[in-house]
C-alpha cells in the first residue's frame, strides 16, 4: 500500500526537488531521505492529507538543512546564486507538476541512449538502480556508474530541466518516445512483463502531460496493442505465432484502449512510424487479416524508416498475398545475417515451398541466434516436423 503511494509519487517529488535544488544529485538524496522518513512516519501515523506535498516539503527542508551544514557542497550548486530559502512549511500544498521537464532532461540527446533509458527508469519510473541493472543485464556497479556519469554530465554541461522551445520540440519529443519504446521492447522480446508495463505506465504519464501530441498517443496505442497479446504469445514455454494464438487470452480492455488511442492519434494528424506500426498491430488483431493492407503499411513504414527489418516484415505479409516465392525473393535480397528473425522467416518460407534441406539449414541458423527458451522450443519443434 505504502509502496504504491511511493511509486505514484516518486517522479513528481523528484521533479519538484530537481526544480527547487537545481541539482540532480542533491535532489536524488533529498527525495530518498524524504521517502525513508515517510516510510517510518506514515506506517505509524497514517497517510498525510497530501502525500506528494508532504514528501516535497520534507525533501526540500532536508536538503536546505544539509546545505547549511555543508557550505562546500552548497557552493557547488546553483542554490548559492539565490538567497538561501527559508524552511518551507507544510501549508504550501500546491506543488506544480514538473514531470514533463524531467522527461525532457532525462531523454536529452546529449546523453547516450543507454543513459537516457536508465535515467528515465530511475527518475520517472522510480525503479531502483539494481532493478534497472537487472532489466538491462548489467551488474549493479556498471549501472550505478552509468547513472552517476549521466547525472554528472547533466550538472557539468547544464543540460536544461525545461520543456524545449517550439522549434526543438518535435525532435526532443521523439527522443522521449524512443526511450519509452526501447524500454517496452526490452520487456516485449524477453517476456519481461514488468518492463513492458512500466513503459506503458510512462507512456500514459507522458500522454497525460501532452494530451495534444498525436505521436505520444500513437506510441501508447502501439504498446497497448502489442501488449494485449502477451498472454497468448507463449504457451507451455513455447512461442506461438500470431495465427495460432488463442484469442480468448488476448486482453480485450487493452486492445480496445489501444484502438481508441490509435483512432485519436490518426484523427489529430499522426502519421509517423509509431502510428503506422500501431495500425499494423491493429489490423493483425482482426479475425481475417487484410494482408494486402498490412503489406502496404509496411511499405509506408519502410519509406519512413529505411529499415531492412521492416522489409523483412513486409515480406511476411507478401507471403500471404502473393505466396512464399515472391516473399523469399524479397527476403533473400536483404543483408540481415545476424538477425534471428531473418533466418526463421526464411525457414518458414522455404518450408512452405517444400525445400526441406534449405529450410533445415535456415532453422538451424535461427536456433543459433535465438535468445529465449520459448523461441528455441518453437524452432526445435519446427525442425523436428520437417
Amino acid at each position: 500500500m505504502l509502496e504504491e503511494v511511493f511509486r505514484d509519487q516518486w517522479a513528481r517529488v523528484f521533479a519538484a526537488l530537481v526544480s527547487f535544488l537545481g541539482d540532480v544529485d542533491l535532489a536524488e538524496e533529498a527525495a530518498q531521505e524524504a521517502f525513508v522518513i515517510a516510510a517510518e512516519r506514515w506506517a505509524r501515523d497514517g497517510l498525510p492529507d497530501n502525500p506528494g506535498a508532504w514528501l516535497v516539503v520534507t525533501g526540500r527542508n532536508r536538503a536546505i538543512d544539509r546545505l547549511r551544514r555543508d557550505r562546500t557542497r552548497a557552493e557547488k550548486t546553483r542554490l548559492l546564486d539565490r538567497p538561501m530559502p527559508e524552511e518551507v512549511t507544510m501549508e504550501e500544498t500546491s506543488i506544480p507538476d514538473e514531470r514533463l521537464e524531467l522527461f525532457f532532461m532525462c531523454c536529452h540527446p546529449a546523453l547516450a541512449t543507454e543513459a537516457q533509458v536508465a535515467l528515465t527508469l530511475r527518475a520517472l519510473g522510480g525503479l531502483s538502480t539494481p532493478e534497472i541493472a537487472r532489466a538491462f543485464l548489467v551488474n549493479d556497479e556498471t549501472m550505478k556508474r552509468r547513472l552517476s556519469r549521466a547525472r554528472n554530465k547533466i550538472r557539468a554541461a547544464a543540460i536544461p530541466f525545461a520543456i524545449p522551445r517550439e522549434h526543438l520540440l518535435p525532435a526532443r519529443l521523439s527522443a522521449v518516445l524512443a526511450v519509452l519504446y526501447l524500454v517496452f521492447n526490452q520487456g516485449y522480446g524477453d517476456g519481461r512483463a514488468d518492463l513492458a508495463a512500466e513503459a506503458i505506465r510512462l507512456g500514459r504519464t507522458l500522454l497525460d502531460l501532452m494530451p495534444d501530441e498525436p505521436e505520444a498517443a500513437a506510441l501508447l496505442a502501439l504498446m497497448l496493442l502489442h501488449d494485449s497479446r502477451r498472454a497468448a504469445r507463449v504457451r507451455d514455454g513455447e512461442t506461438i505465432l500470431l495465427h495460432d494464438q488463442d484469442r480468448s487470452l488476448w486482453n480485450t480492455a487493452q486492445l480496445e484502449e489501444g484502438r481508441a488511442l490509435l483512432d485519436r492519434a490518426v484523427r489529430s494528424g499522426a502519421s509517423g512510424a509509431y502510428t503506422v506500426q500501431a495500425a499494423i498491430a491493429d489490423l493483425q488483431t482482426e479475425e481475417r487479416i487484410d494482408w494486402r493492407a498490412v503489406a502496404a503499411l509496411y511499405d509506408r513504414l519502410r519509406q519512413l524508416t529505411g529499415s531492412a527489418v521492416v522489409e523483412l516484415n513486409r515480406a511476411v505479409a507478401i507471403a500471404e498475398v502473393e505466396g512464399p516465392r515472391a516473399a523469399l525473393a524479397i527476403v533473400d535480397a536483404l543483408h540481415l545475417d545476424d538477425y534471428r528473425y531473418f533466418h526463421s522467416t526464411r525457414a518458414e518460407l522455404l518450408r512452405r515451398l517444400g525445400d526441406t534441406v534449405a529450410a533445415r539449414a535456415a532453422y538451424l541458423g535461427a536456433l543459433d541466434l535465438a535468445t529465449t527458451e520459448a523461441e528455441r522450443r518453437f524452432l526445435s519443434r519446427r525442425l523436428a516436423e520437417l
Binding site: 557539468a156 554541461a157 547544464a158 536544461p160 524545449p164
Partner: protein, 112 residues
C-alpha cells in the same frame, strides 16, 4: 555557464568553393562573433604551420605538424556564455564547419 565550442574542420572543406561562397561563410563566422553570448574566439592558422612539443628527460622534442593525424583538424574555437546546454548547442549548430564535413565539440569550461 561558460562553454568552449571547439571547431574541427574537414581538410579541403573550402576547396572548389567560389570567392563568393567563401565570403558568405566568413560572413557567417563574423555574424556569430556578434552574438551576445560570445565571449571570444580565435581562428588558427593551417595545421601545417604547427609545431608539436614533448618533453623527454627534460629535453624538448619537436615535431613538425600537429600531434594527431586525423580526418578532422582543430581549426579554432569560441568561448561562449550560455544559460544552458541547449543555448550553447544552438550556437554550435550555426558554425559553418559543422555542415561542411567537420564537427563542433561543445565542452563546459571548468569553473575557476
Amino acid at each position: 555557464m561558460r562553454y568552449a565550442l571547439l571547431i574541427n574542420e574537414r581538410p579541403g572543406a573550402y576547396d572548389g568553393l567560389s570567392e563568393d561562397q567563401r565570403a558568405a561563410i566568413s560572413a557567417e563566422y563574423i555574424t556569430l562573433m556578434k552574438d551576445e553570448r560570445m565571449l571570444g574566439g580565435e581562428r588558427l592558422q593551417p595545421a601545417d604551420t604547427a609545431t608539436t612539443v614533448r618533453v623527454q628527460n627534460g629535453e624538448p622534442l619537436l615535431t613538425d605538424g600537429p600531434f594527431a593525424d586525423t580526418k578532422e583538424i582543430f581549426g579554432g574555437f569560441y568561448i561562449v556564455e550560455a544559460n544552458d546546454l541547449d543555448s550553447a548547442l544552438e550556437l554550435a549548430a550555426r558554425i559553418p564547419a559543422a555542415r561542411l564535413g567537420g564537427s563542433v565539440e561543445v565542452r563546459p569550461l571548468a569553473e575557476r
